[in-house]
Assembly symmetry: C2
Amino acid sequence: MTSFLTENQDRFLSELLEWLRIPSVSADPKFHGDVLKAAEYLKMRLEEVGLDNVELCPTAGNPIVYGEKLIDPALPTVLVYGHYDVQPADPYELWTSGPFDPVIKDGKIYARGACDDKGQVYMHVKAFEVLNQNGGLPCNVKVMIEGEEEVGSNNLGIFVNANREKLRADVVLLSDTGIIANDTPSIEVGLRGLSYHEVEVTGPNRDLHSGLYGGAVHNPINALCKMIASLHDENGHITIPGFYDNVDVLTPEERTELNKAPYSEEEYKQSIGLPATYGEQGYTTIERTSIRPTLDVNGIWGGYTGEGAKTVIASKAYAKISMRLVPHQTSEEISQLFQQHFTSIAPEGVTVVVKPHHGGEPVVTPTDSVAYKAAAQALEDTFGKKPIPTRGGGSIPIVAMFKSELGVDSVLLGFGLDSDAIHSPNEHYGVFNFMKGIETIPLFYQHYAKLMQQPA
Amino acid sequence: MTSFLTENQDRFLSELLEWLRIPSVSADPKFHGDVLKAAEYLKMRLEEVGLDNVELCPTAGNPIVYGEKLIDPALPTVLVYGHYDVQPADPYELWTSGPFDPVIKDGKIYARGACDDKGQVYMHVKAFEVLNQNGGLPCNVKVMIEGEEEVGSNNLGIFVNANREKLRADVVLLSDTGIIANDTPSIEVGLRGLSYHEVEVTGPNRDLHSGLYGGAVHNPINALCKMIASLHDENGHITIPGFYDNVDVLTPEERTELNKAPYSEEEYKQSIGLPATYGEQGYTTIERTSIRPTLDVNGIWGGYTGEGAKTVIASKAYAKISMRLVPHQTSEEISQLFQQHFTSIAPEGVTVVVKPHHGGEPVVTPTDSVAYKAAAQALEDTFGKKPIPTRGGGSIPIVAMFKSELGVDSVLLGFGLDSDAIHSPNEHYGVFNFMKGIETIPLFYQHYAKLMQQPA
């Protein structure tokens, strides 16, 4: 199998690069045409590797690319999920090469979406080609790649709910996560949920001259800053009443286990250029980014932000504020608590509107399932090491949705690295990781099919 | 005189509108050509009303328009100051008519610069025309109109210093201020100074995914908000150590006098659409906007501010922060205190850079000077009421500079209203106020010349 991989590596890469050149940014309407192009490109590649009934399923938003290969109803079925849309690329000026002009440097593919998630999705496409060369698929597969993951997957749930029969499967397989290091395979078994809001603080009915009015009216920017500052106490705890009520508390044993994952605080700080980490007192960096909920301002704006100086008191100030959730917080509950609290702390003289963007539920996936065992075995085959189960900080809301809508668990067989700078300028994905994925995924299918046929 | 005014009002207005159509925004380089056009237009109009040696004096920045009429060295000399540059017009979408497409509605001229300061400068231009019709100038005049007031008058001081002889005068006359109401004339005798800074807070060396890193690094936007929030205490006092050390404290009598100015808290709140005023405890709104220093955030930005949601932790966050100063604070002293303090409160994990923009000194002008008496008499002639001396909240840094460089006091004979929305969308200037200025300014010259010739 590996010789086939080495022989075809260049072609696999050039196919991926061609896809990465299409700026499928779902958050910005001006890229809508490119989003559709990216979907069409994927459809063409899925047909090429032999999937049947490949189609663009319309939704209220961007289409979902679906395809399947049903070889035998008696065999188990794997539903592959991923997304072909990408994050906005700005700030463009911080990219060393164009975000949609992919280049391969020092064994890495540089482009928006190189890792998240086009690069990882394309491993699955090529995995089918590998299987075709090695006895074919050992089970049924259904492939569902959406185009709105980066804007909250608003239409996926509706689509899944309306197509329960079509999508029926024994497990969901997705690669939108990472491994600890290229010599340390791991599988994410926990993911944080998300509650994302845009807040608007309004003061005077128009921008005012800060000389004439300064000191007499509540400046909405100062007010917003005060409100945001009050959301954390001096220990880094979030001050929203009831915020921690349902937080899943790990046993000391679980925490010890979690902190066994190889990690160097020094390397971590170096990789992001910081003299110190920071966060909730009483927890390690690993815990702060996995088992603890967080609150971050993702964007803020108001007043004069152009060149030079303008002495103005703005009428309005805005911020985008999101919270990462852990089991058993729900995004609905937390969104309500945030909305109530943030509105209640508005000082006299300003009014506040909280607009919820999108949410997602935290999940913990089982480590004793057949799918987990198959994934672990496949990784051990290709890395020569047993993978470590980890708890991820990111959110893949649809994992919880698949559980509730389809009643199936997911296995997170991702090959990215924290250092891949996803959502950042100069996002990249290792050629090593891309090829490892194409090598490992076919083995997952083979182990999974075999294990499923053994009497439990 | 008044018949001449009514007969020519339409022409005066159409000349002003023509000038207002030129977007002379000094803060934004892309308007540089228009700034020069506006200067040329003014030169043409000054020549038209008979000034001599009208020229565009080059500076390191925008040219200063200068002209003079020296009728007799034995007579006193008035130096008229104003500015032909205007504030940026954004946010454009909040204007009901184009900022540079002036219209007259309900007796008001709507345009950026209609009041601040093109409209008020043009009253002076037309005042010369009025005097030409009424026995000519009773004293010498020098006119100096700059093009960088809205960006800190950085080159004016250099020009004045280099042209002390050319600019020698007995008093500076300027109209960049206002009156209490159209039936309540007033003269500003105090102005606040300014200390303006741009701050940059840097956290990680790149934008980070808020899921992977959220909770483990200090988010520079959260940090900036905390720092800004800490600049005021719960009583609205500014917390910068030493900030109030040199603040001029008024006597109870002075404060009573100051608060005699006609003022309605209800009307004030209504005019800006606020349920409540806000500010430093223990002071009235009139005091908060005149005799007390203030601190306001004029702009803030960082992270993702586009459409939709991006789950990012920004590498940098920025704010423009300015302080209004009162006698005897100096902008240099306060800028140093701010810089020291703001840098010192940066939490671990972020670094802070404070870039000073521009400053200006607070001033109090005498009410017993000949010029003040002449201005008061002229206003009484045209309004039928004695003007009230007031302390203004705004800053005209050059008033202090004229005192130090030329050794002369200024008289602030302005005709604007607080409700003119200068620096805001829909800036406007009353036709009544424009014409009142053209009527009053010639009387100032006549009273001033007469009073100066009386033995003291």
